[in-house]
């Protein structure tokens, strides 16, 4: 099965800004991709072809901009893949619901809690909070408690 993984890594390498390969013992992933804004849907399409399913979508508000994190896993091979996409100043990320339909509610939850807009999502309504709380965005942090990505996820070997 390792041969398959090398093929996968070589396919996604072009779209990802940085790739980290791990053994899932300390950080919980085998592969961590920091994807460019435009490469997200291609990465997702490649993962779908290789038989991965979407586990969950979450987000972290770091400096400079919130990062959306997608976790993929496989039914037969124990292999966890994480894709991180920075939402940018305007908080927009392309939606992957035409590739993974199950992402629809996860993206609604991220919109509810962080205010991130997913381009191409046809039903970005409130899911967990109620309609009156539009604009509350409770998980957005204040300026003084923001940290950069490296402070929260230090590279392996340092912490």
């Amino acid at each position: 099965m390792t041969l398959d993984m090398n093929k996968l890594i070589s396919e996604v390498k072009g779209f990802a800004a940085s790739i980290t390969v791990d053994d899932s013992g300390s950080r919980g992933f085998h592969l961590d991709l920091r994807a460019e804004f435009t490469g997200l849907k291609d990465c997702a399409r490649i993962l779908l072809e290789h038989g991965f399913y979407l586990s969950f979508i979450t987000a972290v508000h770091v400096r400079p901009a919130a990062e959306v994190m997608y976790k993929f896993a496989h039914y037969e091979i124990p292999y966890n893949i994480i894709i991180r996409v920075s939402a940018g100043e305007d908080m927009r990320v392309p939606s992957i619901i035409d590739i993974y339909q199950g992402a629809a509610w996860h993206e609604r939850e991220m919109h509810d809690f962080f205010g991130i807009t997913f381009d191409g999502h046809r039903n970005l309504k409130h899911l967990i909070l109620s309609r009156e709380e539009k604009g509350l965005n409770p998980l957005i942090k204040s300026e003084k408690s923001l940290k950069s990505h490296e402070e929260i996820f230090p590279p392996k070997g340092t912490a």
Binding site: L129, S130, E133, L136, N137, P138, S142
Partner: protein
């Protein structure tokens, strides 16, 4: 921070608004034609020994409530034979779990639909005072269900053990009848 203190304040205001609306719609017990104390005492003993709870498990404390209703910590031996799904048929509302802003309206509606005489047990820290969610970062949890409806017995714990819930129901029986382990319960 635009949330923080302002969010907690907005949660409290929402709870207060709901409570005032519920208090206006409260139906007090109608005046009886003739008050016969002996019959009232007998009726109180009957009500205490057959409290039918409304299934209102909201989060983790619901599991403890289910455990108290099952065979190991049997709640049926104290009269709570059936947990009614409809508020019209229940006289005890056990609020087991966290009450959010979205759920607060529903809690008040169900309480209003229960026919008098009715009692409320707040099970667990979340129903008593917001539990682990109360504090500076709170933006959505109502800090205690007694901001919405009047509570008779508070059962602390996170979650309380099923024996704690049983003790709460016995305390409620004592509150209703004035006497612990009312007739015909055996004391041993």
């Amino acid at each position: 921070m635009e949330h923080g203190k302002k969010a907690v304040l907005s949660v409290h205001e929402y709870a207060e608004k709901l409570r005032l609306k519920a208090e206006e719609a409260q139906v007090y017990e109608p005046a009886l034609l003739a008050r016969i104390p002996v019959i009232e005492i007998i009726l109180d003993f009957c009500r205490a020994n057959s409290l039918w709870p409304l299934t209102f498990g909201l989060s983790c404390c619901a599991l403890e409530m289910m455990a108290a209703g099952m065979s190991r910590f049997d709640l049926a031996r104290y009269g709570s034979e059936v947990f009614r799904p409809s508020p019209r048929q229940a006289d005890l509302m056990i609020v087991a779990g966290t009450v959010n802003k979205k759920m607060a309206d529903i809690v008040v509606t169900l309480y209003e639909q229960m026919p008098a005489p009715k009692w409320v047990i707040a099970l667990g820290n979340c129903a008593i005072s917001g539990g682990p969610f109360a504090g500076e970062g709170n933006y959505y949890v109502i800090e205690g269900v007694d901001r919405l409806i009047p509570v008779d017995v508070y059962v602390p714990g996170c979650p309380p053990r099923p024996e704690g819930l049983i003790e709460g129901i016995l305390k409620l029986q004592e509150k209703i009848t004035g006497k612990k382990h009312p007739f015909p319960q055996n004391k041993h």
